[in-house]
């Protein structure tokens, strides 16, 4: 019975995907065509959503500057599981054409687990659509579980974040608590970086998350 239920949810999940409408980089310019009449992603049940709480897919559209990456991390942690991360454009994979820039983060997978990459600089709408369909296939088969990796290897991701944002880095989300809640505590959940986080963690003042 629960398997049937799981399959039903996966089936529905694959067919109803809300993309977070967050234009992190230049690839965002090919999203309006994807959303609008010419390529109409609503055909696939994909629609844009404006806040992380509502969204299922975090579409990282190209390079993320370090400043943006902080916000992307906040956003990612606020999204409800199961959540999927798609990295589009070259820049999310290996720095892209900005690989020698001091301002951008180079590899998205160091900071959050990624479900799918779409190649291109920037990928055409058709490529984005193909990517979405690929992701839908994976979700339906229950293979898109990167969000669990974030809990299981939180220490690794947090370490990379601390490396970039400084030791004082913290977010309002208690990831370890969530990991326990989901029963996803793994060997990599806790480690030296989470220990550091516990040391520096302090109650957030109003609107401090504005950064």
């Amino acid at each position: 019975m629960s398997r049937v239920f799981d399959e039903l949810t996966n089936f529905a999940r694959a067919r109803s995907l809300f993309i977070l409408h967050y234009c992190t980089g230049c690839g965002a310019i090919e999203l309006p065509p994807v959303m609008t009449s010419r390529f109409d992603m609503e055909r696939l049940g994909v629609s844009p959503m404006v806040t992380p709480r509502q969204a299922d897919i975090l579409l990282v559209t190209g390079y993320v500057s370090i400043k943006t990456l902080k916000r992307v991390m906040l956003t990612y942690e606020q999204m409800g599981s199961p959540k999927y991360v798609i990295g589009i454009c070259s820049c999310t994979v290996n720095g892209g054409m900005y690989w020698q820039s001091y301002a951008t983060a180079k590899r998205l997978d160091e900071y959050m687990p990624v479900d799918l990459y779409i190649a291109g600089c920037m990928p055409r709408p058709e490529a984005v659509i193909s990517g979405l369909r690929e992701l839908m296939k994976k979700i339906e088969q229950g293979e898109a579980n990167s969000w669990k990796e974030y809990y299981r290897n939180y220490d690794y991701y947090l370490g990379n974040q601390q490396h970039l944002f400084g030791d004082q880095w913290q977010t309002p989300v208690d990831v370890i608590g969530e990991a326990e809640h989901y029963g996803l505590v793994g060997d990599g959940t806790r480690g030296e970086h989470t220990a550091l986080l516990e040391q520096v963690q302090h109650p957030l003042k109003p609107l401090e998350m504005r950064l």
Partner: protein, 210 residues
């Protein structure tokens, strides 16, 4: 518009302002360049704005001449009346690190000066807002300075993908493999070669030994 008045005005201005040099003035191309001692800047700007209608500050560009130890500031002014662009070049000592703002005369200077401050570390006195804008999360030195090496910073801070696809494994197994990684052939980063190495053996001989 009074197109003919521009050149005489420029000439007259040279007499009024010490050290002002009209480096070139091409009316057909609508571009003129003025070199100026930095302390005369305000005088010139006031004259340009008040007398010739140079109300539009198109941009302030900063150039880091590190070997001369100077920042060059270029004020690009446009006159909607004359349809002429005036580029005013001044030099500021790099070590000093401060200069006076022209915000009072030109509001757009607010953005440009703020930008130059965070990118070059040149502080403008009298500007309303010198807070960081773009680089709020940046702790390093002003990145546009020539002595900041972006690539070195990147090399220290980030890791790259270590691809090892199947086709490469096959090639390696057959005796080939990566020979020239991309960073070795960066033509943009070519240092001027110091010259041949005289001391060793002749390269031909070396190759024979390989």
């Amino acid at each position: 518009m009074n197109m003919d008045a521009f050149t005489p005005w420029l000439d007259a201005l040279c007499g009024r302002i010490d050290g002002m040099v009209v480096a070139c003035s091409d009316l057909a191309q609508r571009r003129s360049r003025i070199d100026l001692p930095s302390e005369e800047l305000t005088t010139l700007l006031e004259a340009a704005k008040g007398e010739m209608g140079f109300v539009h500050l198109s941009a302030i560009s900063c150039v880091d001449w590190i070997e001369e130890g100077e920042f060059e500031l270029v004020y690009h002014l446009w006159s909607y009346e004359q349809n002429q662009l005036l580029s005013i070049h001044i030099r500021v000592a790099r070590d000093l690190g401060r200069f006076q703002s022209v915000y009072d005369l030109y509001r757009p200077a607010g953005f440009f000066e703020r930008d130059i401050h965070e990118m070059y570390g040149l502080y403008f006195e009298g500007a309303p807002d010198m807070e960081k804008f773009i680089l709020t999360e940046w702790n390093g030195p002003p990145p546009m300075r020539k002595d900041f090496d972006s690539e070195a910073f990147v090399g220290e801070t980030f890791d790259w993908q270590q691809y090892n696809p199947e086709w490469l494994q096959e090639i390696v197994a057959a005796g080939g493999g990566v020979v020239v990684p991309p960073t070795e052939q960066r033509f943009s980063q070519r240092k001027k070669v110091d010259g041949p190495d005289w001391s060793g053996d002749h390269p031909q001989a070396k190759r024979g030994q390989e």
